[in-house]
Structure formats: C-alpha cells, structure tokens
Symmetry: C2
Subunit: 260 residues, 2 copies
Amino acid sequence: MRWVRIEYNGEPVHGIIEGDNIALTSGNLFENPQKTGKTVPLAGAKLLVPIVPVTFYAAGLNYLEHVLEQAKAKGKEPNIPPKPDIGYRANNALIAHDEAIVIPKDATQRTEYEAEIVAIIGKKAKNLTKENALSCVFGYTIGNDFSERTWQGGDRTLWRAKNTDTFKPMGPWIETDVDLDSLETTVRVNGKETIRFATNKMLFDIPTYIAAITKYVTLYPGDMIWMGTEGHSPELKAGDVCEIEISGIGVLSNPITREQ
Amino acid sequence: MRWVRIEYNGEPVHGIIEGDNIALTSGNLFENPQKTGKTVPLAGAKLLVPIVPVTFYAAGLNYLEHVLEQAKAKGKEPNIPPKPDIGYRANNALIAHDEAIVIPKDATQRTEYEAEIVAIIGKKAKNLTKENALSCVFGYTIGNDFSERTWQGGDRTLWRAKNTDTFKPMGPWIETDVDLDSLETTVRVNGKETIRFATNKMLFDIPTYIAAITKYVTLYPGDMIWMGTEGHSPELKAGDVCEIEISGIGVLSNPITREQ
C-alpha cells in the first residue's frame, strides 16, 4: 500500500494511492486512518513530505564504498564505524518530491546528493531485538541527504552542511509492502545514471540500528530513520535535476537551483 | 508572564500562572491563545515539558570555562569554537520538572548535569540580524543537558550520551519577561550549591546564534535553542537531586535514579 500526504483545500491530508487516484483518509495515520470516501486524481496532486517526524534520525556512514570514498576525498584513512551510532537531521530542511533544492549564495560548488532508504516508524518501541525490530516499521520512503561538503568538513557540526533549508528532499510516498533484500537504489542526474547499488547492503542494517537505538531511546510513531548512502556523488549545480529511484518504492525527483 | 503546560483531564493544556493558580487557555500558544475561564491550583498540577519542539537546537560549547574544563578532562588542548555552529538534541529525551532522570544500567559513573538557558521561538524567522534577532523569541525556560561522558567521548555521535530517554529535563515553565544580562544560573546538588555563573556570559550570545542560524535555516514557532553551559559538574548518581535555578525564570528540579 502506498500512502501519500497531499495539500487538499489548503490543509495536509493523508491518502492511499489506488490506480490513478488518491483515496483521502482522516484520523491518525498510525492509529485509525479511515477513508473519507473522497478521491482526487494522483496526477496534479500537490505532494507534501509524507511525514514530519517527532525525531529525525540518520545513520550517516553506513555503506562501505561511501566510507572509503569520503575518507579519500578528505585525504584521510577510512574510519569504518565499529557500531551503529545514530545521528540526526532537522525538520526545517525537509522538502517534497518535485520541490527545488536551493543552494545558498555563499555555498561552494561541492554540493552532492546522498540517496537513502528511509524507515518510517509506526509504533512506539523500546528494547526491541534484531529479530522483532521491523515490527515497529510502518513503511519506507526515499530521502536525499543533500550535502555541502566544504561546510561538512570545516564546521564544528553538520548543521548547515546537511540542514540548510531545502537540503532534505523526501518522498514521493510511503510504501508499506517492501522486500528489503530485493531493493535496488539508482540515481540519475539529468537523466543519466550515476550510481546503482543494492539498497540493503549496509554496514548495519535496519533491524540492527533499531535494536541498538531502542536500547536507550524510545521510538515514536512518525519518527523516521534515514539509513545512509553508498558511493560518491558528482558535484551538482543549479539547473541539474536529481532523481533517486528505489525499486518497489518509487522515484524522488528534485530540481536544483541557486539562491539569487 | 509565565506559561505552563500541564496535564488536564488527560490532555496537555497551556496556561498562565496567576498567583497560586493557573488560568487555562485554548488555541495555538504562539498565535491566538485565549483564556478559557477555567483555573486550577498551581500546587498539585502535573507540569509537562513546556513545549515539544519541531526542531531541538543546542549550542554545545558556548562558555569559556566549560570548553577549557571539557578539554582538560579529555587530556586535550582546548578547541574554542571560532563561530556559532549549532548542534541538535532529540525530543524523545525530554522530561518535565520533577520527573526522574533514569541512568541506564550499563552507563558509567560519569553522568553530569549541564545547566542551560533555553530560548523558545515564537515566530517564523529567516535572515534575522543580531539587532532584530530577539524579535522571534517568545520566552525562556531552563534545560539540563544531562550527559554520559564516557559515551560522549567514545561514540561516533552524541546520540546516547546526550539523548538517552529522560536525559533532557526542561521547565518548569516559559517566562516571557526576561532581562538577559541580569540573569544568574545556580546549580544545587542535594541542596548544596555546586556552581553559579552569569547566564548571559556566553562565547556567542542568543542574538548572535539566531542571526547565524537564520542565514541558512528557517526557525519555526515552537522550535527551541539550548544555549550551552558553564563550568564542570560533579558526577551524579542515583538518589541525587539536581536543581537548576535561573534568577527571574525559576527552578528546574529532577531526581536521579538508575535503571534496575
């Protein structure tokens, strides 16, 4: 099942994709969503970010080639994480499918995509094990952990490198029926493929992260975990369009602009 | 004016402290709060965290002695931040005045308080200057950035060191009428004073942080910025009570327990 969040009469509304239409729902998405009986065409609907989380978790360095290439770019020895220490991103930076990433005037040219699968939490969870970790997951979407690498290397924290307004595209919707091991992530810049990788070939997979997190931290419905990316991105510039496809989920596409 | 958030008939409700009573309100706290006409006694009211933010900002290293003493504890040269790079904390960790901090079973003894003033954002804000930065601030409360120093030093991120459930006490309420330069922060452990410092004597003050943040990031009503702490805490253990007072705001008190 695919859940979207759209703007309808000026308000955010969740709905279920049924063929070419969206069946609108009311009630809490994670508790008691009910179809209202209204439908709108999917084509032309204004898609919103599918969820605004209570807490925005991000795994960071979680694919081997990405760790090696990030180290190489910095001229440092690679530091492969020995355990799943989770990180964070910020809600101000979220934008939806088709919305524009806006690179600030004073950013450098070193702006890059990071293609990620996102796990959306549907149930309150504490002290899960690897075996039952996925029981708290409602579904999956796609995230672009867009990054300014000069700021990432020079600032004391990742704040503007990762969390500048518009730097976190997410969507287009939440897919609830997913076979993680069969997924493939593909990125295209201006229609040309730049990378393709097995989505689930992580250093620490989703159950491992959820088990580690929930030893100390309660996850809540609407929280989400961005799971990191593989490989290395070319530098992206104003005028480019970045598409991230995860097979079985969908395509997240965002044009890139620069602040005037 | 002092704004509290309390549990009333099982729901969170904002109210204004009037003498020994709380005048309950309805409507959005930052847009159109209206007194409902109902009052309840302040004594015995179940105080909640005064706000759950959209984004939880934290300044980190922002007082000189704290930077020096943290470096000394690690046996490293102090690294005084050259500019205001903001950090983040997580909502799962928030607890209210009088609620218990629970130290996990496997934490070390190196658990410490950090006494902080918290700026609560009341208006959407982008591209503010130092001169007009405080125009977006609704009021101020008190935060305890409780930390497990062994995890802080050893993990790749600050996640469990700073964001374990219950590690972020905040309250007791939001004070809207504050003269920042006159404030003094005092901490008492089991009634005995452990530190006293000028609250506003920061490396980068609140207007400087807000101006820097809003160059790249939009602040939203309900966001909050924890401004960092001064000095060094003794190790806290189960059975201790930690009180943080900021003159003109109030006292945030929390007992400390250990997970069984």
